[in-house]
Every structure is written in C-alpha cells, then in structure tokens.
C-alpha cells in the first residue's frame, strides 16, 4: 500500500478548505430544530448535494421519485437528532460539497450537482472511499451511513430485501 506522506499536503489544503467552508456557512442556516416539519436543519444547497449523492448510493435499490425524496427528508430529520458536534460536522461536509471549490477540487465533480450523472457521483464516492486522506474517507462514510440508514429505515425498502418488518404482537 502506498504511504500517506504524498497526501499530507493535500490534507492540509483540504483541511483549510473544510474550515473555510464551515466558516463561510451562515450559522443561521442551522435553524432551530423543530421549526418546520419539512425542513429541519439542512439548507437547500445541502439537499441539492444529497439529491445528487443519494441516487448513486442507492443505485440498484429501486429508490426513485417520492421514496427517494422522502429518504432525503429522513436524512434531514436524522441530522436534527444528532448531537451538536455531529450536526456541525455533517454541516461542514455538505457545505464543502455544495461550494464550487469543494465540488470541483475536493470532490472532483466538474458540473453542478444537479447536472452530475450517477456515474460521475459514483466515481467521486469511490475516490473518497479509497482516498489516502482520512478526512475524505470519513466524508464518504458519513454520506454512506446517512443515506443508507434513511433508506433502510423506510418500510417501502423492505420488500426488496425480503424483510417482513416487525411481527404483530397479540
């Protein structure tokens, strides 16, 4: 396996970029949890990132249309229930991806998220998944966990995997 040394420079640059994205993010975009049932803590830009990422993560599950949109809403609710430090981290990650330099130079996606193909998004996810830089690997895992947890929490995802749901208790 290659060593990590070659990535340290990128690591520092990326950390600076992440910090900048986090700082640039208007704090009030984290509105008070519970303010709205439909939009809780994610911004429109965050949701646009998720709307591009989720179809790539869920490719092959049959997730589409209203079910997919509802899963993204579930991510929003799930983030609202996380402790503040995790909300902050997820916020920084999505703000980074939503920013032009973050999308273009850290994620390596050359077109706006709404124009990115599933293939382009999947290539980005794989780059982060196998990155030699832990911060990007962590970002991949955060997206993986948030999207897949939201999807498989949904009863309409269960038939495809042969899960009957919890039993009826008399």
């Amino acid at each position: 396996m290659p060593g990590r040394r070659g990535f340290l420079k990128f690591g520092v640059a990326g950390a600076l970029l992440l910090a900048a994205a986090g700082a640039a993010r208007a704090q009030p975009s984290y509105r008070a949890a519970g303010a709205s049932d439909t939009l809780q803590v994610l911004s429109d830009a965050d949701r646009e990132v998720l709307a591009a990422v989720a179809p790539a993560i869920l490719a092959g599950t049959g997730a589409a249309g209203p079910g997919l949109a509802a899963a993204i809403g579930s991510v929003d609710r799930a983030v609202a229930g996380l402790p503040p430090h995790l909300q902050e981290e997820v916020g920084q990650l999505l703000a980074l991806l939503a920013s032009w330099p973050g999308r273009r130079w850290v994620a390596g996606v050359g077109v706006p998220w709404r124009e990115a193909s599933v293939g382009e998004v999947a290539a980005f996810l794989d780059r982060w998944r196998f990155s030699r830089w832990a911060l990007l690997q962590q970002g991949y895992h955060a997206l993986h966990d948030l999207v897949l947890a939201a999807w498989y929490a949904r009863p309409d995802s269960w038939a495809a995997i042969g899960y009957p749901g919890p039993p009826e208790l008399g």
């Binding site: 396996m1 092959g60 599950t61 503040p84 993986h144 929490a153 899960y163």
Partner: protein, 531 residues
C-alpha cells in the same frame, strides 16, 4: 394487551421528572446521587434504596417503555442510543453502540450474560493487584444478580443465524457454548436491540429501577450531568443541564443535586468525561486512559436457504475457541458470536454503495453474520484508547488500532470465513471496503491474507466500552480501588464498566451487575454507619 410497568408506576406516583419539561431550575438533596441508570446505576439504586437511603438517579436519555418500543430502527436508534447509534471514535474508524435512555445499554442490549472469565480475574489479580476479586469471592454476587435478573440457560433452540455458528464450528471441531440470557417469558422475537416490547428482557428498566422508584427513589431523566463541583477533596454538588425534548441541546434550566455521596455510572465514556469536565484530581494521569472496546469485526455469509437473522433471540451461541487458543497476554484472542440482523444496522455496516451494496442487501434474508470481539488490554500492544473532551465538553474516545490488534483482525476474518463455509455458505464477504464476495474457502483465505487492514477500510464496531476509571491497588495505577472508591475524591464511587482494568473477553453486563451489587452493598453499609 401488554402491561407497561413504567406507565403504571408513573400513574401510581413514582417520582419521575422529565427535565425537558422543566421551566425553572431545580435543586434536590439526597443521601446519594447516581449519575446514569444503566447496569451500574440501576443496581446501585435498588440496593441503596433497599438499605433505606434516599437516592436521586440522573439519566441523560429519555424514559421510554414497552408501549414506546415498536421494533422500528428509525425510532429506536435516535431515541435510545448515544449519538443516534452514530457514536464513533475520534478517527471515525470504530462505531460504538451504547444506550442512552433509562436503563442505559441494558434497555437495548442483546441479553448475552456471561460471568467475568476466570482468566480475566486472574490477570487482574496478578497484574493489577486486585486479589479480592477472585472467582470464588465474586460467585455469591453473580448468583445474586443471576437470580435477580432471571439469568439462566436459554432452552429454546437457537435461531438459524446462531445455529449456523454451532454447526459450522462443530464441523471444524471448534467448541461452542450456549449463551445465558436475562429474560423472563421471552417470546423469541429478536428485537432486543430496539427495547423489549414485552418487558421480557430483565433490563434495569423493568427490574431494579422500578424497585428503587417504588421505594421512593427519584429519577430525573433528560438531564445531562455537566460537572461535579469540588471543594477540598469532596464533591459539594452535582450540576446538570436539562436537555431539550430531542435530547440534543441544553434547554436552559439547571438541576443541582447535593448529596452525601455521588455514584458515577455514566458508562465507560461518560464517567471519565464527567470527571474530566469537573477537573477531578488525577495526579498520575490515569483518568480516561486504558479504555477498551472489544474491537469487533464482521463477516457476512450468504447461505443457500433463508436465515432470517432478524428473527429469534439475537445471541444464543458463542465460541471462546480463539480466546483459549493463546495465552491471555499473548497474541490477541477473540470471542465469536452471531448478531441480530436488521435493515438499517446491516445496511450501514455493509461495505460499498450502489449496485454492489444493493446486491448484498438483496440477500438480506439469506445472510448469516458472525462477529469476532477482540480481547483488548492484556498486552503492551493493546493499551486501549483515551477519553478526552471536545471544545463543547462532549466526550470523544481516541482509540488507536495497533498492529497487534490488526493481527487479530486478520485471524478473526479468516476464522469466521472458514466456519461459515463449513456451515454451508455459498459466499462469504469479509466486511472491508476492498473485499468482494468469495465463493470458496481458498478464495476467502487468499483475499483476507492480502487485505490492507487499516482504519476506515476495515469495518470495526463495538458495543462494549470498558475501562477509563480502572480499578487498581494503588492510585498510581488506577482511578478507583476494587470497591469502586475514587482514590482522590472521598465521597465519589464509580459503579460501571469504566472500572474494569482491561476488557473482559465477554459481554460485560453481568460483570457490571455483580461487581456493582458487591460494591453498592458495601457502600450502603458505610453510608449507614455514617462513614
């Protein structure tokens, strides 16, 4: 209609305060304040109240009960688990499952009940000076808690997921055993991890805590213990924040509790963190160190027939073959168990995304999973992790996965694959980002031997956090003595998994119950005697 003993108790007048509903500060006085309502806090509350002491129990999580337990992951994880079951180590390489609700992890655990292994107690005696914790000395306490919590042999045949461990191991001449469970009238449903909907699991939620509340103990839930106010080597009061209704942020009101004695039972991350936030004396720099996890790795197999790993008692078969194969202080050993499978937990654990992930999930009903729990803490190559604080005061565990641990991970992945093929698996998938489904033992072995074992590529999880306020015979080597008494703070005791000097090599709940029963009984005696 299933009875809900918690709602009945509240209706009958239990003194329960949901701090999220407070509109002003609250000051309470008691003989003993207990922080945390899990295995340590629950047992302590019952024993102290039975001795006639006035107890206040503080719990960060909410009070939920059987009526609320609808067997849905979407509800259970955010409501009942620390950080919505997304708690991770500092480098995000290890996911940590811990309860955060009344009853703590006992409300959501999988009921596995083991006495502390003799080899572990012998190691503590020889290396940590804990001669009084012999198997013989602890036996009456184990017996007492086994009787209290209906811990006994589970005579129902294991579900297929567990039966496959027994069959595969038998083919290879590997011994397995039956796991005892703390259940009474269990319907063998398989949803222990989401809160028992029938009150069969004899968790703290339905046993010791109701007993304490019935005797007049007070419970404040939805309240986070921020710090112990210290004065001249003693705790003067416990300061808590009421949390909002989601349990995410402080809502404003503060709760102050003044007591003669303070029992810390917030778990092996929460208790060291509370002491750190309080600036507790730590002259030998041991607090929060040597925190252990039983780092756990996962192997998924696709079987020819349905396994339905979500159904039936979750953990009923184990193997200690690979713990006994090496000396306790030699190469790291591991315990094998078969965990329950549910869509969210399995979907998050399964590597990859897109079609490869969906293909794996499509085999969910035919999937058999084994986990290997590595016995950390018995070797210089396995010193565990270190609990620290973030800027906001929340705890975080830094846990380095050392080459010594990775060596065990590779052997564990190989052993699990071998057993799964012996049990008839069509395919075995080590849970690692660079692994692919393997169709033969030789293919799996070759793949596993070549996998780069690194954080964030290898899936590592933990449901057993231990240590951080370790017991020792002298302050230089630990935070508390073998009675749980804090070495520097005279009116503080620690009664939870954080006192263990190493990991256990077994699921921890029964070890916490028994040690706490002993130490709470002795504490009650001291407090009654006015000492």
């Amino acid at each position: 209609m299933i009875r809900d003993p918690i709602r009945e108790g509240i209706a009958a007048g239990w003194k329960v305060t949901d701090a999220s509903a407070l509109d002003r500060d609250l000051t309470l006085e008691a003989d003993v304040a207990i922080v945390g309502s899990g295995a340590g806090g629950g047992v302590t509350a019952e024993i102290l109240t039975a001795a006639g002491l006035d107890v206040v129990l503080v719990e960060e999580g909410p009070l939920r009960s059987s009526t609320d337990f609808r067997m849905l992951e979407a509800e259970a994880y955010p409501q009942l688990y620390q950080e919505s079951a997304a708690r991770k180590t500092l480098d995000k390489a290890i996911t940590i499952l811990q309860g955060r609700c009344v009853g703590g992890s006992t409300t959501v655990n999988w009921t596995s009940s083991f006495r502390t292994p003799d080899a572990t107690l012998a190691f503590w005696r020889d290396r940590h000076g804990l001669a009084d914790l012999s198997a013989a000395a602890l036996a009456p306490w184990f017996e007492r808690m086994e009787a209290r919590l209906a811990i006994r042999e589970w005579t129902v045949p294991p579900n297929e997921n567990n039966a496959l461990l027994a069959r595969g191991a038998a083919k290879l001449g590997i011994a397995t055993g039956a796991i005892r469970r703390n259940v009474s009238g269990c319907l063998n449903i398989g949803y222990c991890g989401m809160g028992c909907p029938t009150n069969a699991k004899q968790s703290m939620l339905v046993t010791t805590i109701p007993a304490a509340l019935a005797r007049g103990a007070r419970l404040v839930c939805g309240a986070r213990a921020d710090r112990l106010a210290l004065r001249r080597g003693r705790v003067a009061q416990l300061e808590c924040s009421a949390l909002d209704s989601r349990g995410v942020r402080p809502a404003g009101p503060r709760i102050r509790i003044r007591a003669r004695h303070y029992v810390l039972a917030a778990g092996a991350i929460g208790t060291p963190a509370l002491l750190l936030r309080s600036g507790a004396p730590d002259p030998h720099r041991v607090l929060g160190r040597r925190t252990f996890l039983h780092p756990t790795v996962v192997s998924a197999a696709v079987m020819p027939e349905r396994v339905d790993g979500y159904a039936g008692a979750p953990q009923t078969v184990y193997s200690d073959h690979y713990l006994e194969a090496t000396p306790i202080d030699g190469a790291i050993g591991f315990k094998l168990e078969a965990p329950p499978l549910h869509p969210v937990l399995f979907g998050m654990t399964h590597q990859g995304f897109g079609k490869a992930h969906a293909d794996g999930m499509a085999q969910f009903a035919r999937t058999h999973v084994l986990i290997a729990l590595l016995r950390d803490g018995f070797h210089p190559g396995s010193e565990g992790g270190n609990v620290g604080l973030r800027a906001d005061g929340s705890p975080v565990l830094a846990y380095p996965l050392t080459p010594f641990v990775w060596d065990g991970v590779r052997r564990a992945l190989a052993a699990m694959a071998e057993i799964q093929f012996a049990a008839g698996a069509d395919q075995v998938l080590p849970v690692h980002e660079l692994a692919r489904p393997c169709g033969s033992p030789a293919e799996a072995r070759s793949l596993i031997m070549g996998l780069p074992l690194e954080p964030l590529l290898t899936r590592v999880v933990s449901a057993h956090v231990m240590g951080g306020c370790g017991m020792a015979d002298a302050p230089a080597r630990g935070t508390v003595d073998s009675l749980g008494r804090h070495f520097q703070l005279e009116n503080v005791s620690v009664h939870d998994g954080s006192v263990f000097s190493t990991s256990l090599g077994a699921n921890p709940q029964l070890s916490i119950y028994a040690l706490t029963a002993r130490n709470a009984t002795l504490l009650a005696g001291r407090l009654k005697a006015g000492r």
